[in-house]
Assembly symmetry: D2
Homo-oligomer: 336 residues x 4
């Protein structure tokens, strides 16, 4: 019973079907085929604004390419100290940007706030001897499984813009956040000041495609070249485009995310006050009792230890296709 | 009737079937699943030696990652002046390597020779003021549609090793070269001194997976990290592995390549002495007559002009799934 | 009365004289002249071991080149959160290394300890998704004006070596630390496990030369090329070499540093218990009283505010050539 | 008798004197001192236009920093195949730019022409699969010791601007070219469309300072940060500024260059029709007779062989301080 991550779940049927439909060659390679050509308009309709969509093969590529287009090589990106770009991407932002830095800021429950950034950067001067902050990267849903409200994001967006910073949103679990908030996707992106979104599908029933969604259209020319030289411009681009279109058609992305969120909510209810952060997406962090990790594993549950060694903290991730039986079993085990 | 490139052809049925089989999650993400775990052994059996296989999403990524592991950032790679890494990868080798250079050498029919390299580098001193040559990159089949013999490659391999250079083989059309030569794949790789092969499938009926095949196992540790930080380590790695395994199982790769080569041979016969280079793979370069490009296009044939403007040179590429009818039509048109 | 920094002080007479002596051309350029050729032996005699010396024009270049030779581009360097390489070099380590990261650790009075590093990296896993720690960078004297003892450094060196990390020492004020400790310079470098030292002279009466001193000779070949391509290999290398030799001849470097340290000690005595850290080199950090910064500035003293805005913390730096009168005036003002 | 290069010649008296004058600290470090603050105005007066001057420690740093500010990391710089940036800077342009490429073009006597560039790039398409040409780098005087006329440069500048490229001038021997032409320095820089000049002094009686002179003022902000993180912003910046100011004051730079040029002219006259290129600066390339290289060396002349091995081509460089006796001796030997 796998609660390790949503990142290896099966692709959903709609995505698999789209692969089959895209198989026959139809016109030129790269982004010149009829499927790829639909991307900008389809995402534009979804977000309610003009945008440019650049498919890539991983979330790491999406984040790092986006940031590389937003900051100069001597630049810096402000992010949460637990951000995926800092912790789990093997230095990709530094590689893609040509050496830019991440400036880490602390924040409760995975979230940044303007006041928290202000405090975290209190010693930052910004003179010619220092890296130049030019972007803020936020994660929605956060690494703690919480979700920024539209107002929280708008405040951060306003803060960033007031300093001349661009805003990046790491949306590996963006679908879970929209499903939780029930808002329009534009409310937590361009309307809140987001310039570039890493739109994730792979953790939400996708297969091998993520999308960089540019609301700041001026970045598109630069990014097209960066994407190519990063080996992220496949000759059969229609297979990435087809997955992305299948995900957003008929709200498949929200259906998948809603299922995962609902499962996580059941786990959270069972874990009660041992839950460490508000469960607003599909991740549940639980402060287990002594011996409980071992007991749960002996019952067949797979999950990651979290936090410091010996802390008994655990992370359970519910995927779009986690079975009701598995979730019920874990619910029972946690409540036991 | 599309003779533009093999790079947007349909995936072959075996590859599509493998995607479906890989769909259900089976164990951990990244390279930890049961399918990915088969790669090293399967390619080891194919090549007849121990090797490490790292799947990536594009040929550009395969080439650039491979070279980055072979030369230092102040290094240089010797390659043909028309090599894909120089002409068509938007500077990827410089990006992935942290600034290494390509030193361009001329050569007939897309091929390098030891003597040609020696002449091309006659002014190269190699002192501390110059980039340091540390690798030779060859293309098999070449950009001119020709194929190095095992002896030619062995001579180049020996030349390179004598100078302390590593050897990279860009095998975007490696299958076509093996199908042409009828040799063991080891004969034109590790037995000829090749350290790293970019094993292409996408132009040969694959979908979205290429493989870096390491014969120099000492490069593996470094490359694993480079691959991750380049955004080339997908969480659902099984979808790349499944494609690669499907391609090499039951010689599908050679069947596909053989079909493409055979079609090219028919075109070559029709073009007669207007063929510019020996047609040994699936590309046919033809010196057309004045007006002929326009005439062929008016008949519905799509192909690229080649060489200098006004030269009437054209490139026709036959894919694994180019229809016999299309090939016959072009054969007739060229012979006309 | 300038207590801003030692970094713009006058060059000492010995250094200026050496420039004049080096002026006539004597043999080949770059490092081929007779003066440059003396460097390795002279520093070898000073440190009591074989070493390779590579002159550079700034401390930033010394640090960043050294680190680039010690960690791969996907690597990481552990350092104090206030280290110069993090705070004041505009991202140079990321640039020179091709994207490597700094992992910041806290520590009292500018110092790291093995236990502090262990705690600071408690969440670091080191798997393929993370940057790879390969080096520890320490600063001697520290950014807080304190000095590691030989035993402290040896413990850190042993800790690092046990993990396979190399050790870099940022010695912008290395002379001040040796003058304070009265030890052999080898005791706080190679005998303590240091692989590479950034040997500073510019803050200690030098003019325009710093030295990378390699105790790990295996790094030399790589660094020579990195130095050249970084534009740090001047054709008239004798002018850097001459400065470095003048500094270490007849213990000029220790004389200069001793003078600066002594001045700082006088300031520290006057500041009494308002001194924030042990004054062991030539920097004095003082928690001033409300209104005191303004008062001191109105008296003509120039110095930097430190810490958070409104904290009234101040840094006073004594240079090798700070006048006794200026020091006495500040002593009186602080004691007042 | 040293005719190897002008790059290790003695600094001229004015430069040495300026070092002494700059020695006492005067105000803040870096570029904040009174001497550094004069640079922009002094060079502005020299060139007859507003400019920004950034001192650096080597010509390699000047060229590579300049180019990095002119092209994106996926960009390319067109230059002569024998340009110093290609042949003798160990890949510095690729390093500083984050991976940009040089596209090499042939040209007679070290010179490029619009027609030659057009021919050299005839196969360049400029689509998304290729590096993006964004700059042209020219060398004045050229690597062949020839000098572009103002009209030649203006034609190249117009050609570049018509394609949206910026123009860089590598002026390691800029002084020699102005001395030869007798023109206003503006005539072969900003008036001819040059955006950035690497203004060399080290080969012309300077010591350790070169200058990046920006006529395109919009590049200044970016370059200031690049310069810092490249370790090219010394804390005692006054020593570089003082050298630069001493060189341009009272036309010292033209006096020195004129002396060197005159010596080269005497050598050229003696070599007669064996001279390979017009001698317009301070370099003389001679096709020696069989045995002549050995004979000259046995007479005590030091010089570099040039061209292919066994070609008997030789390069003689006259420095500002080459003695009249040495020149006379070589003149006699060549005429013999």
């Amino acid at each position: 019973m796998n609660f390790l991550s949503d990142n290896s779940a099966a692709p959903c049927p709609e995505v698999l079907a789209a692969i089959g439909v895209a198989a026959p060659a139809s016109g030129p390679g790269y982004d010149g085929d009829a499927i790829s050509q639909q991307l900008d308009a389809a995402f534009g309709a979804l977000f309610g604004c003009e945008c440019v969509v650049l498919p890539v093969s991983t979330g790491t590529a999406a984040n790092a390419l986006a940031l590389a287009a937003m900051v100069p090589p001597y630049g810096a990106v402000v992010c949460h100290e637990e951000a995926h770009i800092q912790v789990d991407e093997c230095g990709a932002p530094g590689f893609f940007s040509g050496g830019a830095s991440l400036l880490l800021v602390r924040g409760e429950a995975g979230k940044l706030t303007p006041a928290g950034i202000e405090a975290g950067l209190s010693a930052y001067r910004g003179d010619a001897h220092q890296v130049q902050v030019r972007a803020l990267s936020l994660t929605q849903a956060t690494e703690a499984g919480t979700v920024y409200s539209p107002a929280e994001l708008a405040a951060l967006g306003e803060y960033a813009r007031g300093r001349g910073w661009k805003v990046h949103l790491d949306g590996a679990r963006f679908a879970n956040s929209v499903a939780h908030l029930g808002c329009h996707p534009g409310d937590i992106t361009w309307r809140a000041g987001v310039d570039v979104l890493s739109f994730g599908t792979i953790k939400n029933g996708g297969m091998t495609a993520e999308a960089i969604v540019l609301f700041d259209l001026a970045l598109a020319d630069d990014l097209r070249f960066r994407r190519k030289r990063a080996g992220q411009m496949p000759s059969k681009g229609r297979f990435q485009a087809a997955q992305l279109l299948a995900m957003i058609k008929d709200d498949v992305w929200l259906r998948n995310a809603g299922q995962a969120n609902a499962g996580a909510a059941r786990l959270a209810a069972a874990a009660g006050d041992r839950v460490m952060y508000p469960v607003e997406a599909n991740e549940v962090f639980v402060r287990l009792r002594a011996g409980e990790p071992e007991r749960l594993r002996s019952l067949g549950f797979a999950f990651y230890d979290w936090g410091a060694a010996g802390s008994n903290e655990a992370r359970f991730v519910v995927a779009w296709d986690s079975s009701a039986a598995d979730i019920a079993a874990l619910t029972a085990a946690l409540a036991g």
